[in-house]
């Protein structure tokens, strides 16, 4: 125990100075079964359809992309793009509009006929599958206008029958003009405009190359799952729905072709149906190793901290929480369309109390804009300052009176009735009521909250809700301002799933476009700051907090390194010492 502790301390100190792999090599051991505990099961095997963020850990083990992130305890290293299937991170040419990738040799598909080198055509095929008419990927919107000719390809694909044969024929005959494959080991992307986060976009699981065999199955269908073709260090050994996925080593994977994954453990079991309490107890007793979709409860974190448990760590993923304001319903004669009312809401909320609920500043910080801590574009500003972020009920009351509601307003606020949801809702309610709002809380089961209530735009139009506490995590860490701004705060005439009130601001859009195009990241940050300020001047939301994810693991797990895109420790880099 003593020895292990000093080793861990040494590791922490050395990572700053040395490549972590040097330290790792000292007492790494292979073998064993990693037991990962979750409440829900791994929701997707295919990278195309939308998946929960937790699935990122699964994709890390079974898929590889051109670019990826290293698992690391160093916050800077966590979000630095590194070559994965590409043999290096390219520098764009043609004013930032052309990216040329060389593919790493020795990176193989676990194809039915034996290991087969991943080639350029597989990369293009991966993109083509994104806009299939059977089960499309919302993330395609990041690429549709960006890659030359991709929008045309997708428009054509939309008219194809959603059958295996028709889709296969369309992909085999089609071509995306902006994805060139001059040689088997070379992919060239041509962009319509420069995008300084294109490298980050290529870390998304949706950009995973696709082997030719998968065209014979509908995306993520049972057939697809039965004939899973991995290109990561692990592949699926068995799958029992709602119960367990077992991963075993992928025989086609070669360690020397993969700089980011060490693949120490032999088998990974992802077990579903475990309640948070039980999972934490199993981790503490050593029966379980890591958590899948379970958040460590704040109280447990504090109890473990008090006991001096050093297996607790945090990870900033750029997650934030906010209250969405419904500006499209006719409730209260459209009172929430009045900017003064929305500003009053921003003054009223006690953000410090929300932070306190989550265990203090170590785990959350008050947020006043749309970009949370750790995201390029975040800056400390307070358009609606309140003393110690505790809310300013008098100011809010005054604004409300100025808006013509001296007697306050009655608002409906459904909340997700799970985890911290009820506590957060009641804290918000208390501070809003102090400012003259009358808040009716509506407990909503977690299975209904996002899928049926919030993302269904009819509910907003019909005034089923006035306010909703909600959360957002960008699709990738670091330079992810686009992944926060575009899905939530832009509207092009088609209702977006996560822009709950069809918010749009042309001025902000114009500056965001500039921020995405510039190659100077410092300038990009300043432009995003401006976007943030413009949005918040007439706020569609009440930003609440930037949140860090608390990570915990069992005593048998060594070399627990956070993988930012999965929001948890990296399965492919831990080893077990029981």
């Amino acid at each position: 125990m003593e020895h292990r502790l000093s080793a861990a301390l040494a590791l922490g100190a050395l990572t700053l100075a040395l490549m972590s792999s040097v330290v790792v090599a000292q007492d790494a051991q292979t073998g064993g079964t990693l037991r990962v505990l979750g409440t829900a099961e791994v929701d997707r095997f295919d990278t195309v359809p939308p998946a929960t963020a937790d699935t990122g850990s699964f994709f890390r083990a079974t898929t590889r992309q051109l670019i990826n992130f290293a698992a690391s305890t160093d916050p800077q290293e966590q979000i630095a793009p590194q070559a994965d299937l590409a043999d290096s991170v390219p520098v764009p040419t043609d004013d930032g509009k052309t990216y040329t990738f060389k593919l790493r040799q020795g990176a193989n598909w676990d194809a039915p006929g034996g290991p087969r080198q991943i080639v350029a055509a597989d990369v293009e095929r991966g993109f083509m599958r994104l806009c299939n008419p059977s089960i499309p990927a919302p993330a395609v919107s990041y690429f549709e206008d960006l890659i030359v000719g991709f929008a045309d390809f997708c428009a054509g694909f939309g008219g194809v029958e959603p059958t295996v044969e028709a889709m296969k024929a369309y992909i085999e005959q089609g071509d995306v003009a902006g994805i060139e494959t001059p040689a088997d080991d070379t992919v060239v992307f041509h962009l319509n405009y420069a995008a300084n986060d294109f490298i980050y976009l290529l870390t998304l699981p949706v950009t995973t190359p696709a082997p030719v065999e998968v065209l014979d199955y509908l995306p993520d269908s049972p057939d697809y799952r039965d004939n899973y073709i991995s290109n990561g260090p692990y592949t699926i050994a068995s799958y029992v729905p709602d119960t367990k996925v077992t991963l075993e080593r992928n025989p086609a994977w070669q360690a020397e072709s993969d700089p980011l994954r060490k693949a120490y453990v032999d088998t990974i079991e992802v077990i579903a149906g475990v309640q948070p309490d039980a999972a934490m107890q199993q981790l503490q007793s050593g029966d379980g190793d890591m958590l899948y979709d379970i958040n460590v409860p704040p109280v447990t974190v504090q109890m473990l901290t008090m006991q001096g448990d050093d297996k607790i760590s945090t990870l900033a993923e750029g997650a934030s929480r906010m209250i969405w304001i419904n500006t499209v319903s006719e409730n209260n004669d459209g009172a929430l369309r009045n900017p003064l009312v929305r500003q009053a809401l921003n003054y009223a909320v006690n953000k410090a109390a929300v932070v306190q609920q989550l265990g203090g500043r170590e785990f959350a910080t008050p947020l006043n804009g749309i970009f949370p801590l750790g995201i390029l574009g975040h800056h400390d500003f307070a358009p609606y300052p309140t003393p110690d972020d505790q809310g300013d009920p008098e100011r809010a009351r005054a604004l409300l009176a100025e808006a013509g509601y001296p007697d306050g307003l009655s608002l409906k606020m459904p909340f997700r009735n799970a985890g911290n949801g009820a506590s957060e809702a009641q804290v918000l309610q208390a501070s809003l009521e102090e400012a003259g709002f009358k808040i009716e809380l509506v407990p909503t089961p977690p299975s209904d909250f996002y899928p049926r209530l919030i993302t269904n735009f009819d509910n907003a139009l019909n005034g089923v809700w006035d306010l909703v506490p909600s959360g957002w995590s960008p699709d990738w860490p670091g330079g992810a301002a686009r992944s926060i701004f575009q899905p939530q705060y832009t509207y092009d005439g088609t209702h977006g799933t996560f822009n709950f009130s069809d918010y749009n601001n042309e001025e902000a859009n114009a500056i965001a476009a500039k921020a995405l195009a510039t190659s100077d990241l410092a300038e990009a940050a300043l432009l995003w700051n401006q976007v943030d300020e413009i949005v918040m001047a007439n706020p569609p939301t009440v930003p609440l907090i930037s949140q860090t994810t608390v990570l915990y693991h069992g005593a048998g797990v060594q070399n627990f390194l956070p993988y930012a895109a999965g929001g948890n420790g990296d399965w492919t880099n831990v080893w077990l010492k029981r």
């Binding site: 504090q302 306190q356 804290v427 509506v442």
Partner: protein, 312 residues
């Protein structure tokens, strides 16, 4: 006074039997005390200076958001939002008692009516009503309750309706059985021969004879209703937060593993729920013994000393 023979009314005899039952007496006192607490909840809030929904982020929570244990500021500790557990418990008693009593009375009303009509008329009416009772009893209660609440949204009225709907059948069956034997008795025949109508016979002749089972079963239904309400609240489908209810308080304690740290969040509401249901059950038992001495023969045989007392 000694030696003088005093005529005792049936009520007086009942009360004497009831008061001689120590467990029943303790239960009754607890229930009365609880009613006092529920009525005086506002006074408790005023004395402590803590309302049921006021959140004390400074004195009721540590800087990192943990509740504080029982102490001088908070006699029963504070909850995860820094609210006073004692005050919430008192207001929760209002919810539990009112739901318990209102739901039981309504269920009793329906049960008695249905049982009376079914037992009295017999024949196809009995058949239809009997099958109706079977139907209601065969519905998986919790599942149905959950779906109803999920569809209509949670509210006090819906909670009561749901509880009533699922608890009248026991009463209905008991009353029907009693009526079946009562309607064959001579005084009913006498009334009928004197030309009394059905309604008159049911209300003036049969109903008064059902007093004992009605009182006993209604009392016994109160704890069941309270538990029903607590179950609904525990599952997050009872009355909406931040209004306090015992089941809701337990649910909040179970949420996020906070009970691992704050034992007082489970102990006090749990104890309140336990003692209340226990008291109503014991009181129900005591009432049965008092109202219907013949039902407690088994006990008399064990304790012959009481036989004399009961016979006197």
């Amino acid at each position: 006074m000694t030696g003088e023979i005093k005529q005792r009314s049936s009520f007086e005899l009942t009360m004497r039997r009831l008061l001689s039952d120590r467990a029943g007496l303790v239960s009754l006192s607890f229930i009365l005390a609880l009613i006092a607490v529920a009525i005086g909840a506002d006074a408790i809030a005023a004395i402590t200076g803590h309302s049921a929904v006021a959140q004390f982020h400074d004195i009721g929570l540590t800087p990192t958001g943990l509740p504080v244990p029982p102490g001088t500021d908070f006699l029963f500790g504070s909850d995860q939002l820094g609210r006073d557990v004692m005050v919430r418990l008192a207001y929760g008693a209002r919810v539990s008692l009112s739901i318990g009593v209102v739901a039981s009375l309504l269920a009793a009303l329906i049960g008695v009516t249905v049982g009376l009509v079914a037992g009295y008329f017999g024949g196809w009416i009995d058949g239809v009503l009997g099958r109706l009772m079977d139907l209601v009893m065969s519905i998986p209660v919790l599942l149905c309750m959950l779906s109803l609440v999920a569809v209509f949204g949670s509210s006090l009225a819906l909670s009561v309706t749901v509880i009533v709907f699922f608890s009248w059948t026991t009463m209905g069956r008991v009353i029907r059985g009693q009526v079946l034997s009562l309607k064959e008795r001579e005084f009913v025949l006498a009334s009928r021969s004197m030309g009394a109508g059905h309604l008159s016979i049911m209300v003036t002749d049969i109903l008064p004879n059902l007093g004992a089972p009605i009182i006993i079963y209604t009392t016994m239904m109160v704890p069941t209703s309270i538990i029903f309400e607590a179950t609904l609240s525990f599952l997050g489908l009872g009355i909406a937060p931040p209004a306090p209810s015992w089941g809701g308080m337990l649910a909040e304690a179970a949420n996020n593993s906070i009970y691992m740290f704050a034992w007082w969040l489970v102990l006090f509401p749990g104890l309140a729920l336990l003692l209340t249901t226990l008291s109503f059950n014991i009181l129900g038992d005591a009432l049965r013994d008092a109202l219907d001495p013949s039902s407690s023969k088994h006990r008399l045989r064990k304790k012959p000393s009481k036989l004399v007392e009961a016979a006197s």
